[in-house]
Subunit: 196 residues, 2 copies
């Protein structure tokens, strides 16, 4: 319908969001136009603002609006430990534990040959340089425990070890609060092998 081209354009644009199909996009567009036009304006401005203002930290590659992010600039952090995570969301999860006081390197992805994501896309070269700067004494690999996350950790770990860097990986084991009966076999086998 040519007299609703703005609506059609909005539905098409919403479909670019991950996990949003045509039905969800229609529902979102209807909701915004019928019940929350202010929300549409707020979202429009937030998108334009973020798309122009947010860039990558020169040191750790996470999202930031300055040249270097606040975590990297914080003098209270332990610069000898470098934690490698896949995304800013993973970094935020680590931060919420309050158990890590070192610095981060955010890959902004993971190795995924099928999706055409190679070492260059996740900044492996920069990570190797950073880890060999003489300050970093330990690199903690905190990529996901999925097939791609494990492959990424393995590739990065091997490259770092070749340069003589001390590399560790987050422990695999039984999650806190879980009953053994309901834990999957692979996890129990790993927990048994890594018993201490």
């Amino acid at each position: 319908m040519s007299d609703t081209s703005s609506l059609d354009a909005l539905i098409q644009a919403l479909r670019r969001l991950p996990g949003v199909g045509v039905k969800s996009a229609q529902r979102m567009a209807f909701h915004l136009l019928q019940h929350d036009r202010a929300g549409a304006q707020v979202l429009s401005q937030a998108l334009a603002q973020a798309a122009t203002q947010v860039r990558h930290c020169e040191r750790c590659h996470t999202f930031t609006e300055g040249a270097v992010c606040e975590t990297c600039l914080d003098p209270a952090r332990d610069a000898t430990r470098l934690c490698v995570v896949e995304t800013p969301a993973d970094q935020a999860a680590m931060e919420r534990t309050a158990a890590f006081k070192g610095l981060y390197f955010v890959l902004m992805g993971r190795l995924s040959p099928l999706d055409g994501v190679g070492p260059r896309d996740i900044g492996v070269h920069n990570l190797l340089e950073r880890a060999s700067d003489g300050v970093v004494q330990e690199v903690i690999l905190a990529t996901s425990f999925t097939a791609e996350g494990e492959a990424t950790a393995h590739a990065i770990g091997e490259a770092l070890k070749r340069r003589g860097v001390h590399v560790t990986r987050l422990a695999r084991g039984v999650p806190v609060g879980s009953e053994l009966e309901y834990v999957d076999l692979g996890t129990i086998a790993h927990a048994l092998a890594d018993r201490r």
Copy 2:
């Protein structure tokens, strides 16, 4: 983190979309900023454009950019039949059947006392006026077959009948292509009662 206020604002704004929680919003923001900044700009402009340009048709209340929508302006449509639907998406579904050549009245919602949606919010007064204009000979109630949709159809139907308008409702029955064994009991009971 104060140096990612644009990112935080974007995540908060995305959460205003229906069905989007904090995890989905983070994933959407990450996707747009890391993989599709052009998409973020396109969506930003589409939102601003739609929020300012799209309004309601004066005759049928559907979304349009003119004063009256193209369907209402089409002289080839049968003005004696008026189909009442809940949303523009429902109207689009009716149109795709190519089985209806009359005009529409779009409620832009349904009666829902729990959500504070009353007759005024869905334009019942305008519908009653429209149906009594001497041109409309039949009003086809095509609201959803949910509890709220049925209640809406009942309330509108009663009001129209009191004004002497001929009112019909979409047939309830067994969906095309379905095996009787897997059809729910309520549907079979209705199909039996309405057999012809």
